[in-house]
Amino acid sequence: MATTSSPATTDLPRTPRDLLPVFIAPIIALVALPLVGSPTTWVTLTIAALAMGSMIFVIASGLTLIFGLMDVLNFGHGAFIAIGAYMAMTVLVPLSGWVQSDALSLNLAALLLAVIAAMIGTGALGWAFERVIVRPVYGQHLKQILITMGGLIVAEQLIHVVWGGDQKPMPLPNGLRGAITVGDFALEKFRLLAVAVGLTVFIVMQLVLNRTKVGLLIRAGVENREMVEALGYRIRQLFVGVFIAGSALAGLGGTLWALYRETLTAAIGGDIMVLVFIVIIIGGLGSVGGCFLGAILVALMANYTGYLAPKIAVASNILLMVAILMWRPQGLYPVARR
């Protein structure tokens, strides 16, 4: 763009960088270290937490953007997690030769195909879901909650119809089993992959949101939908696009989550959705950065307390949510609203 050379900076108002929430994660990790005691256990727990946080982030990011942009909270998001995982499984099972092969390249190829299938499948489903379930109830929160819940029920039942109700094994490719040992520390390969995927999604998302026109439109739309339309943009199409992308991300997250657990049931989405909701509340509805941070915090909390006091692990996340909401009632990074 022309004339964008940065002007003098002498009397500019300073950009406030709100970094305070970022420090919570390392503080939790450091507090946990003496409590856990053994450094190797601590490293394992922390890596596990980062992996879990990455998966939760992948699932939650789409949901929070959909909410921010269109004020729609899709309680049926959990169904996309499960359906994505089932689709990936459907691809992985016939590829068992590749999955069990010793060649990492074949392992990864099988995984890639499975992920693509899962994302295309859940993306298409998201498109249909938006059209049939969500579109008629824009702006009506009560009906939205009810109807997306209804969509969740029907989608879960359809999983039973298509794939059957019993627990299925999720084949984790051979090359991703086991751990890499660095000194005393054992780093599980799949967890590292999950972290890499989560970080990639986060970085790509930041780049899209900050560097592309579509991203600018999404950010502007989250803030003030009407004004974006008054500038001549058809935000509906944009929203359908975000809905599809968010659903596809749920499919990706679901695939990773199922691989992590190595088993699969129709209820797999429900287990993690509770954490997803906590994450987007903590992060601030509509904020991708807040969502990332929230996911890491929730996962750290879950893993440390899961080790230290397994019985109250879930309750600890509720306490975390309560504490953060008392500090910042709109979440860590509230999105500016009209």
């Binding site: 379930i133 819940m149 029920i153 039942q157 119809v161 909701f277 509340i281 509805l285 909401l325």
Partner: protein, 355 residues
């Protein structure tokens, strides 16, 4: 007299009056009308769910609050009475004490959740209650030394309510009146009283304010009503009623566990019942609960027949498999939110007006 018992809130539809009367008669005389244990179990379950769904309707239909923590209060009632009977012996005192503790815990919890989050938007509240309720369910499953964990607790009820207790030597209307029948009537009359009490609440000035808040909370606030106060009280009342439903359930089933009282599946069932029956009318709770539980028990049998009849076709027998009954109720639920948001009761009243 009926007018005042129903707090002046009449069914306002002939078909609805007939249905309600039929349900009332069937439930009131269930032990004498049907034989075998399944019908009376179904009848008791309908009574319990009428209370539970009606209490949820106080929130959703009358106040416009979407809470996913209602089963938590149901569970608190069930565990309160159940664990008291288990731990302190099968006496009325322990049942009463357990219920009292459950009511206090339920009300306090409802109050705290309400204060913390009823100021925020509906969606926030829905998510927060969902998270809290699921954490509560997992906690109940984990703390097995107190709650019996995932297996729950079976316990004995006070002697008077046990099947072995025979009240009269002579059978009454051909049925031996035992403690089981007495338990049933305890459940039935509690349900009746609670439903009438709920009708009284929603038709009182307090209930009118709740509905005004549901329609437009800004205006209600502008008219000088403290919206948070009213919402919190409604939350506590609904929670208290759900606790009582949980207690009724414990007395009847003589068992309490996470799956029967706390699970999210039950929460969804309640949601389906209240919406299909008709939000914002307590009669909707009655119709919804009766219809849903009958469907749960008898639709499956019908579907099994249909599934076998279509066994040669692709996919269709899977769709009609008896385990998929919830699929069809889910579809019905979505359709009712779209096409008749006031549910069966609203539709019936509309038909009456159109006549």
């Amino acid at each position: 007299m009926i007018q005042s018992a129903l707090s002046g809130d009449l069914p306002r539809s002939r078909i609805l009056s007939f249905l309600l009367l039929a349900i009332f008669v069937a439930l009131a005389f269930a032990p004498f009308l049907f034989s075998g244990s399944q019908p009376i179990n179904t009848a008791a379950k309908i009574c319990i769910f009428i209370v539970l769904v009606a209490s949820y309707d106080l929130l959703l239909g009358y106040t416009g609050i979407v809470s996913f923590a209602h089963t938590m209060f149901f569970g608190i009632g069930g565990y309160g009475v159940g664990l008291a009977l288990y731990g302190w012996g099968p006496t009325w005192t322990s049942a009463g004490l357990g219920l009292a503790i459950a009511l206090v815990v339920g009300a306090v919890l409802a109050f705290v959740i309400g204060l913390l989050s009823l100021r925020v938007r509906a969606i926030f509240y829905a998510m927060i209650t969902l998270a809290v309720a699921s954490a509560f369910a997992i906690l109940a499953g984990q703390l097995s030394e107190y709650t019996g964990g995932e297996d729950g607790r079976s316990f004995r009820v006070p002697p008077l309510l046990r099947p072995a207790t025979v009240l009269f030597d002579v059978p009454f209307l051909g049925v031996r009146v035992d403690g089981r029948i007495l338990s049933y009537y305890l459940v039935f009359f509690s349900a009746l009283l609670l439903l009438l009490a709920a009708l009284r609440i929603v038709n009182s000035p307090f209930g009118r304010v709740l509905q005004a808040i549901r329609e437009n909370d800004f205006r209600a606030e502008a008219l000088g009503y403290n919206v948070v106060y009213y919402r919190t009280v409604a939350n506590c009342l609904a929670a208290g009623m759900a606790v009582l439903a949980g207690a009724m359930s414990a007395i009847w089933v003589r068992y309490t566990g996470p799956d029967t009282t706390l699970s999210f599946a039950i929460m969804l069932d309640i949601l389906l019942m209240v919406v299909i029956g008709g939000m914002g009318t307590l009669y909707g709770a009655v119709i919804g609960a009766a219809l849903f539980i009958l469907a749960q028990n008898y639709l499956q049998k019908l579907m099994a027949i249909a599934s076998e009849a279509t066994a040669s076709l692709p996919l269709i027998p899977h769709l009609l498999h008896p385990d998929r009954w919830l699929l069809w109720l889910g579809v019905l639920f979505i359709l009712s939110v779209y096409f008749f948001p006031s549910g069966i009761v609203g539709k019936l009243r509309e038909m009456e007006r159109g006549r």
